[in-house]
Structure formats: structure tokens, C-alpha cells
Amino acid sequence: MSEEETQRYGGGAGAGGDGIGGLSLDLLGQVLDRVREPRDRKSCRLVSRAFARAEAAHRRSLRVLRREPLPRLLRAFPSLERLDLSACASLDDASLSSSLSGIRRVCLARATGVGWRGLEALVAACPRLEAVDLSHCVGAGDREAAAVAAAAGLRELSLEKCLAVTDMGLAKVVVGCTRLERLSIKWCREISDIGIDLLSKKCLELRSLDISYLKVGNESLRSISSLEKLEELSMVCCSCIDDDGLELLGKGSSSLQRIDVSRCDHVTSQGLASLIDGHNFLQKLNAADSLHEMGQSFLSNLAKLKDTLTVLRLDGLEVSSSVLLAIGEGCNNLVEISLSKCNGVTDEGISSLVTRCSQLRVIDLTCCNLLTNNALDSIADNCKMVERLRLESCSSISEKGLEQIATCCPNLKEIDLTDCGVNDAALQHLAKSSELLILKLGLCSSISDKGLAFISSSCGKLIELDLYRCNSITDDGLAALANGCKKIKILNLCYCNKITDTGLGHLGSLEELTNLELRCLVRITGIGISSVAIGCKNLIEIDLKRCYSVDDAGLWALARYALNLRQLTISYCQVTGLGLCHLMSSLRCLQDVKMVHLSWVSIEGFEMALRAACGRLKKLKMLSGLKSVLSPELLQMLQACGCRIRWVNKPLVYKD
């Protein structure tokens, strides 16, 4: 690179402009690898041609948001290995036939517009394909599975919620991809024991398997137990599986490390005990909402996992203090425990648990409403490493307990205080946790701008804040927030109905904001929406349901500025067909629109708007009255593009 160019492109960045051009592409690539934030990398790319080149040569992964630039991007980054198309709007079969030769991993989650032709082309084009994610492609069936099965080198595959996949499709996959190591067939309800049996005969390399929500029975577990390398097994809500199945599984190879039997209604602690008998190296055991009582045999067997068990979830179980004591004595190395909705959890129980499990990092005590500050004290005293603490609906705790936590647990990253009735004083103490990333304060209506100011002053790293129904908060609180917490990505302000356009004006300075919920903020208008749209360039989701004063001006602003918007809720807004049309035709990433009760929009308005966005929409929510008045070919077209429509059964109202 000539010096002139260096000056032109690199010099603008100020320091280091001279040196960059002299470094090799490899080195620059190494540098870029260490830049984590995509935005920062973009800055590097923009200020220096050397960086741009290095990135072009080195970039391994890419997340594409729109279909049109896909071929150009693939040419620009020849060494791409991971391609994420899950958010890519209007993706269809044709777009997958571009040159993808080096790709190893493809994420096509929710790519409902892609069918077997596209997958066939993709698999044919990528000889090195190792991982495919087809999760939530609800229309995908056996033929799509068969297309994927042609990728013989496949190691990871997710068919989660590919609702039409049956045993046949699974058989195709397991015969074609015998080297599979990870497979998820969650929600593929058509798959039966026969399919699972074949799977366990063919895919001997399997390490991780997810059969959640399947209607399979104990026979499947008998087959699965023959998989010698299986480490992880999820079977959430497999209601046909019972203790006999777990016993069969227990007799199999002892490679299992992580098992999830949550919401399996017919599993009891006896079955889990026999499972543990066979698998002495379990690290993670999720028995949430499946057990009804704690058997003695299970407790004594848990002690066998003393060294290995790190994650234990027992949600919804009747847990007495003695049980918690036994768990604490048996499993010293626990890192995560979940006792959400467990009856009988008391301060005493928590105390006896945490004094023995000092490694705990994640504690979920949701709805353990007997707990008081004493429990928080003992947690603070014993578990200095706590990172995540969920205390939703523990209404007896107060600022004193939280003070202990905030002082003693410097690593606290997430705390859920929804419905705990905490006040500004509690937030003042919490402000000591400068590492806080996620803070949930929903339904704490006594929180005011003052409390928000404490948080804003010191929790600069906050990325998610939930202020649902904190209706004492006003525009001033938002001003403080926008000043202090610049990193916020997810913000929930639903029903904080004192907020006006001024407050939204402050939010406009949150450049990182991606998800914004403003449900039922009746005072905000198009002006406020405009300032948010202009300021928050990364906005992906906005919820304006029941913001009755928002009109076409708001939609125009969104259409003009919120170019990354993917999900939009405008039910009950005062918008007209014109605004809707303009919005739908302009936003090229928009995929999910909820537009119920738009009584100012005419049928022609809906028709035009939907036609304008037809290829991109994946999910729609509309009044069922429209079903009969919209033109059938439009609905057919939407269907063909992989769009699912949820019809709301409420009367259709017109206003002129």
C-alpha cells in the first residue's frame, strides 16, 4: 500500500495511521480477531484500507441481514466459514445457490422461505459443511431433511421445530450423516421410537441429542442407551417416558454428563436414582417440574455425584430444609442451583445449602416467597462468586439484604427483582455492583427517577433493563439512564405511562439499543418515535401496542430511519393504510409484524401493505375478519414465502 493511500485512509484515525500499512495482512487479521465488538471492527474497516483488506482475507464468520448483498459479501470474504442467515430477510432457495464453497457452518434458523431445493444446492456447494441449523423452519419436512442428509461430513444438525420431519426424514439424515455428533430433533413430534432406534444404530459418534417434546417412549431410551459417546441428552416434556426408561438408560454406557428430564411428568426420583446409579459422572441434572417428591434413594445417590455435579435444577419440587442440607452435603461443587417455585424453601434451608456450596455462581430462587433478608445474608456471606441471582416474587426481601449482596458479591452480573417491591434505597445499594449487566425491576412501582439515577451513575455496563410497570418513572429518569448506561440494548418501559416524547428524545442517545418495548405509553406520539428511530440505529424490535397517540408520523420515521427493524408491534395505533404501506415497503429487514385492531387502515391499505412486504414477512398477527376480505392469492403468496399468520378472533372495526 502506498503511503499516500495510507494517509488518506489510515491517517484519519489519528494515532497509528503510519504503522498500519506496514503490517502484514496476517498481523492485521490477528489484531482484528481481538476486536470483539462488531461496531469497532466496522470502524477499523472504515478508517483503514489495510484493515479492510485484512478483514476481507481473514473474516471467518458473517451474519447477513438482507438477501440482496449476499452474493457480493460472499465474494468479498473468500475465507468465510460460518454463515448466519437466521436474520436474513426474504431468503429463498435461489439465494442459497451462490458460491459458498468454503462454508462449514450455516445457520438457517427461522429461514421459512428455504425449501429442499435451496438446501440441496447449499449442500452440493459446500463440500466441507459441518453444521447446519434449521431450527424453527416450521415448514421443513422429510425432503428438507433428505437434502441435508447429502452432506456426509455433517457433525451438527438442528431440526428443532421442523414440524413436518418424520421418521423417514430422520432416517435419511442418520443414514446420510453417520458422523453426526450433535443432533436436535426437539419438537419434531412425528418422530417415533422406530426413528430413534435407527438413529442410535447409525450415528455412533453422537455426543449430544435433544429429543424434547417428542412422543417417544421407553423403547427410545433403550436404543439411546447403546450410544457409547453420548454426553448430553435433553428430553424435556417427554411424557411417555417414565422410570423404567431411565433405568434402561442407566444401564447403558456411562458416558452421560448432562441430562435434562424437566417436565417429564412420569419421571420420579426413583427413576433418577437408578439413572445416577449407572452414570456416575453427571455434571448437569435438570429435573425441573418433573419430580413431585424427593425420594431418599435419589438424595443418597446424588451424593455419588459429589465430585462432578455442577448444575442441579429442581424447580417445582417440595424441598424441605433437610433436603437442602442433604444436597449441600452431597454436592459440594455445585455452580448452579435452581429452586424456582419450590415449596418449603426457607432461610434455614438456603443457609445450610450455601454454607456447603461456596462455589455457587447461579442461584435461582424465583417464587420462593418464604425467603427473607437472612437468606440473602447467608448467600452473600458464603457465595462470593455469585453472578446471577433470581429473586422474582420474593416479596419479603428488602434493601438490607440487597446491600449485603451488593457489597459481598462483586461479580454480580444479573439480578432479577421483579415483583419484589424494592425501593430506591435498594437501588442505591445495588449501584455498588458495577459489573451488573442485567437488571430486572418489573412491577416495583415504588422505584422512582431517584433510584434510576443511582443505577445510571455507576452501572455503566448495563445491557438489559426491565422497568415494566414501574409507573413512577418519568422523563427525567430516562434522561439519567441515557446519560449513564450507554450500553443498554434491551429496554422495557411498558406501562410506565408518565413517559412522554421528551423521554423518548433522551433514549435517542442510546445507540446500542436493539429491543424497545413501549407498550401502552399513551402520551408518546410520532415525534417521540421519530427521535428514537433517528437515534437508535440498531433498533431491531419495537413494541408500540396501545400507544394510542402514535400516528403515521411515527411510522414514517421508522420507515425512514430504523432500517434494521425486524419486529414491529403496532396494534391499536392510530395509523392509516398509507403509513402502513410506506413502512412495509421501505423496511427491508422487517419480518414480524403484529397489527391487530388498526381500525384506521382500510382493507385496501392492508392489501397494499402486505403485497409490498410479501417476500420478507415470516410472521403476521392480524384480525381474523381480514381473512375473508383479503384477496386469496395474497394469502397464498404469503404462505408460499413461508409466512405464518396468526388470526386473532376479534371483531373487525372500521373507522373513516
Binding site: E120, D142, R143, A146, A147, A149, A150, D167, M168, G169, A171, K172, V175, G176, I194, G195, D197, L198, K201, K202
Partner: protein, 517 residues
């Protein structure tokens, strides 16, 4: 029906003046069992009176036998099979194993020579092909031999020879002719009287796939039914101990002690008449209930009351009717009361169904597949519900009536994959082709067979023949071919064309494809 088969049988006939073609092998089988053993022991009693052995070829009465006859001709080398009650003979096993050893060595040599020559000069392709066929045939033999060797170990394979009367007949013809002569002399009339039953019992076929044991039972039953005169007591009806597995008739699992029930035996005509109302006392059938009630008056005064003559209500019979069970009029049938292990039938409907299924022609043909035949119209209707639909197809072209059978097949063979029902828009071969060929390659690679494509027309026919005749699945039915170690280029040996049709092995019902295609 199947030209290739016929051809092969004819050639084989020319090759060797065949044995006993107009002797019904089943007849021999009837006598040749444990009970009659003492008769056979008498040596040479009527050896000359066995004309078919040296007789001129008469009308080709029983074609499948010819195949076996041909195979049987090489039987001499395996004398152990002459033992009719071969339970588990270590001697035989040993000889089987050593034979296998020899065979494998032979194949190895051939392949060795092939590979050597290949490296040197490109041979004439025809010669290579011939060699390949040779290897294929050899491997077929090895597999079959392996199966039968293993089969003789299974407890259910008790007395496996009896499952194949033709074979037994042959083995005896060749091994100990005098024995056969004896039996023939005893009842020379059987040949004329005997009607050859239609033993292509398609309904039983699936069972047959599951347990070879069933096949055996079927065969036995058929053998016994060869006794149409059925003179009670005049001649001992040969009976055999075996486990009967009858799925189509009621009454199994019921263990009423003999004598605790009244046995009723309806006449054949009565059974086959289209009656629906039967007299509980004498079994006579009527078309109308009113007529039955009139008939009942003849059985006593208690049936003459106005209440008895009126339309029956549920609680009309005050006194408990005696426990009545039914006997099949077919002498020799296990459902016949003369049978040593008589198992009565529960209801008249059971009698009707049993008699039609077991002793009548299958006159109802499925209009969809034109293959499956039934004697009970309800069976046909049940079949028609599934015929053509629910067809589970493997990439190799094999079809299955049940998904689990297909999956069992797929699990067994490397590279085979279920074929999806493709839309009409798409050419059937477009996406399946690569997988098909892959499957084929794998097959050839792993087993060494020249696996035929499903397109070839005559092969399904061949298979059908095999499938329809239960005896073909007898584990030992191919044993004789191991006798002739060197005779592999024989033109009649069509079997190698589709060797897998001989590997039913329980899990995969190969025959099904032909039944439904």
C-alpha cells in the same frame, strides 16, 4: 409365471433324470416322521415298488420340486441331513463348518487369481464376469450355509427337516431309497387321491418372515391335511408334536380341560353355506333367524313355547347353555377332534374362517395388486385397506408394508436409506439416484453381490416365487447345493441373481415387495 425359474428347472431336468417327480413329496413327508419311524426301519421290504425313482419323466406336476430335485441331486456329500430328527448334531455342524472353511478358501483363491491377473493384463471382460458370477454364487452359498448352520442351533429349529418335505423326500431318495420304497408300498393309492394344496399362503407369509418356526408348522399342517379320506380309526393319522401358532382362528390360549365342553363338528357343506344363524345344539345353519327358531322346535318341547319362538331378547335363555366348542371337519387338522393335540375352535365364525383359510382355495384376489389371494372376504378387505398405500420403500427398491420392517432393513444394510414419496413434479430418479447408486456400491463393496436394480423385470417374479412358497425359507432348503463344490457355472443356478431374497432373517420381509408391487 416365472420364465427363468421354469427354464432353470427344465435344464436341470435334462441334466439329470430326475427323481420322483410324480411322487408327491408331501405324501412322503407325512409318513416320514417320528411316529412312523419303525416302519422305515424295515429294510428293503418293497424297494422295487417305487417306480417313480427310475420312471420316465411324466407330466411336470410340481415345478418347484424340480428345482429342489436338481439341488438335491448334489446332496450326497452331506449325509448328516438324512437324519430326520436332526436336533443338533455336532457331527453335522462340524462338517458344515469345515465345508464353510473350504468354501471360503476357494473364493479367496478365485479372487486372488482375479486380482493377480488384473494387475498384469486386462482380461477379456466376459471371463472376468464369469469369475465374478462364480464368486457371487460362492458367497451366496456361504451365507446360506452359515444361516442354516446357525439355524440348526436354535431351539425353534427342532426337527428342521420336516419343514421341507420335498427335500426330505429327495434326501431319502438319494441317501436311503429303500426307506422311501417302504412308505410308498404301504399306500400306493395316495398319489391318485392326493390333491396338491395351494400352499401359497400369503396371509401366513408375514408370520413366516418372523419365525421360521412358523413355516415349519405350516408345512406340517399341510402335510397332515393330505389325508382326505379321513377314515376315523381305520388308519392311524400321523400326528406330530409341534408348537402350533395359529393366529387366524380363535381358541388359542384357552385351556379347557378335555371333556368339560361339548364338541360340535359341522359338515363341510354347512360351513361353506352362506348361513349366519346356527343351531347351538346340532350346528345346522340357517339364513334367517326365524327359520332357526322353527328348527329349534325339533330339539324339544322347551323350544316350543311362545317365548322361545318370539324374537329373542338378551335374557331369554334362563339356564346356562353348555360350553360348546367346535371341531374342524378336516381330519388331520389340529382343529379336528381326532387330533392328538386337539385345539377346539371357540365359535362357529371361527370354524368358518378357519376352514376357509386353511382348507379352501383362495378365491378372492386383491384387485389392486392382483397378487394377494384370500379365502375369507374380510381378509381381502383388510388387505385392500393397506394395499398400495402405506408402502414403505427402501432406496434399493425393496418395499415393506410396515415402517418398522423398513427401518429394520435400513439398519441392517449399510448405505440403504428410506425412499421418500417424491412429488410428481420431480423426476423420481433425480434426487434418489445418487443414493441408489451409493447403496448399490456399498452393497457390492461389502458383500460382493451383483445386486440387481429394481428395474429388471424378471427378478421380482423370481422373488415372488420364492416368497409364495414357504418352504423356500426353510433354513435347510438350500443345503443340498453345497454338496457340489465345483458346480457353480451350472446354468440353472439362478439363485445368485438376487441372493438377498434368501435372507429373510426375521427382520426384513423381502417377499413383501413382490406381494405388493
Amino acid at each position: 409365471m416365472d420364465s427363468s425359474l421354469r427354464r432353470s428347472s427344465e435344464t436341470s431336468l435334462k441334466a439329470l433324470p430326475s427323481v420322483a417327480r410324480n411322487t408327491d413329496p408331501d405324501q412322503q413327508g407325512v409318513r416320514f416322521n417320528s411316529m412312523d419311524q419303525p416302519y422305515f426301519a424295515r429294510p428293503g421290504q418293497s424297494f422295487p415298488a417305487f417306480p417313480p425313482l427310475f420312471g420316465v419323466q411324466s407330466s411336470s406336476l410340481y415345478i418347484p420340486d424340480d428345482i429342489e430335485a436338481k439341488i438335491g441331486s448334489q446332496f450326497e456329500s452331506n449325509p448328516s441331513l438324512n437324519n430326520p430328527t436332526m436336533d443338533w448334531d455336532p457331527q453335522a455342524m462340524l462338517s458344515n463348518l469345515s465345508f464353510l472353511e473350504q468354501k471360503i478358501k476357494q473364493v479367496k483363491d478365485i479372487v486372488q487369481s482375479m486380482s493377480n491377473r488384473e494387475s498384469q493384463v486386462a482380461e477379456g471382460s466376459s471371463e472376468v464376469q464369469a469369475k465374478q458370477q462364480l464368486v457371487t454364487a460362492d458367497l451366496t452359498c456361504i451365507i446360506i450355509q452359515l444361516i442354516s448352520t446357525a439355524g440348526s442351533l436354535l431351539p425353534s429349529m427342532k426337527n428342521p427337516l420336516s419343514s421341507n418335505p420335498a427335500l426330505r423326500h429327495l434326501s431319502n431318495t438319494l441317501g436311503a431309497p429303500m426307506v422311501l420304497g417302504t412308505s410308498c408300498n404301504q399306500r400306493p393309492s395316495t398319489n391318485d387321491e392326493a390333491t396338491i394344496p395351494d400352499i401359497t399362503k400369503t396371509s401366513e407369509y408375514e408370520e413366516l418372515m418372523n419365525t421360521l418356526n412358523t413355516t415349519q408348522d405350516e408345512g406340517d399342517e399341510i402335510m397332515k391335511c393330505q389325508n382326505p379320506c379321513g377314515g376315523e380309526g381305520s388308519e392311524p393319522v400321523p400326528m406330530e408334536d409341534h408348537d402350533v401358532k395359529e393366529s387366524d382362528d380363535g381358541g388359542e390360549g384357552e385351556n379347557l380341560p378335555p371333556g368339560s365342553y361339548v364338541v360340535l363338528q359341522l359338515e363341510k357343506e354347512e360351513i361353506l353355506a352362506p348361513h349366519t344363524h346356527f343351531c347351538l345344539i346340532c350346528g345346522k345353519g340357517f339364513k334367517r333367524d326365524a327359520n332357526l327358531r322353527m328348527h329349534m322346535r325339533g330339539h324339544g318341547d322347551e323350544y316350543k313355547t311362545p317365548a322361545a319362538l318370539a324374537k329373542p331378547s338378551k335374557d331369554s335363555s334362563s339356564e346356562p347353555a353348555p360350553v360348546t366348542r367346535y371341531s374342524c371337519p378336516y381330519v388331520g387338522c389340529k382343529r379336528n377332534k381326532e387330533h392328538k393335540k386337539f385345539q377346539p375352535l371357540k365359535t362357529i365364525l371361527c370354524v368358518k374362517n378357519h376352514y376357509k383359510r386353511s382348507h379352501c382355495d383362495k378365491s378372492y384376489t386383491c384387485s389392486r395388486c392382483n397378487t394377494k389371494k384370500f379365502s375369507v372376504i374380510a381378509d381381502l378387505k383388510t388387505h385392500e385397506k393397506h394395499c398400495g398405500r402405506d408402502k414403505w420403500i427402501c432406496s434399493c427398491g425393496t418395499t415393506f408394508s410396515r415402517k418398522d420392517k423398513l427401518f429394520g432393513h435400513v439398519a441392517l444394510f449399510q448405505g440403504h436409506t428410506p425412499a421418500l414419496p417424491m412429488d410428481d413434479i420431480k423426476l423420481p430418479g433425480a434426487s434418489e439416484q445418487p443414493q441408489d447408486s451409493e447403496a448399490m456400491n456399498n452393497m457390492v463393496g461389502s458383500v460382493g453381490y451383483n445386486f440387481p436394480g429394481s428395474s429388471s423385470d424378471d427378478i421380482p417374479n423370481l422373488d415372488m416365487k420364492m416368497a409364495d412358497d414357504p418352504r423356500y425359507f426353510s433354513p435347510l432348503s438350500f443345503d443340498p447345493c453345497f454338496g457340489g463344490l465345483d458346480d457353480f457355472t451350472r446354468p440353472g443356478f439362478d439363485i445368485s441373481e438376487n441372493p438377498f431374497s434368501f435372507l429373510p432373517s426375521g427382520s426384513c420381509s423381502f417377499g413383501q415387495q413382490n406381494g405388493e408391487s
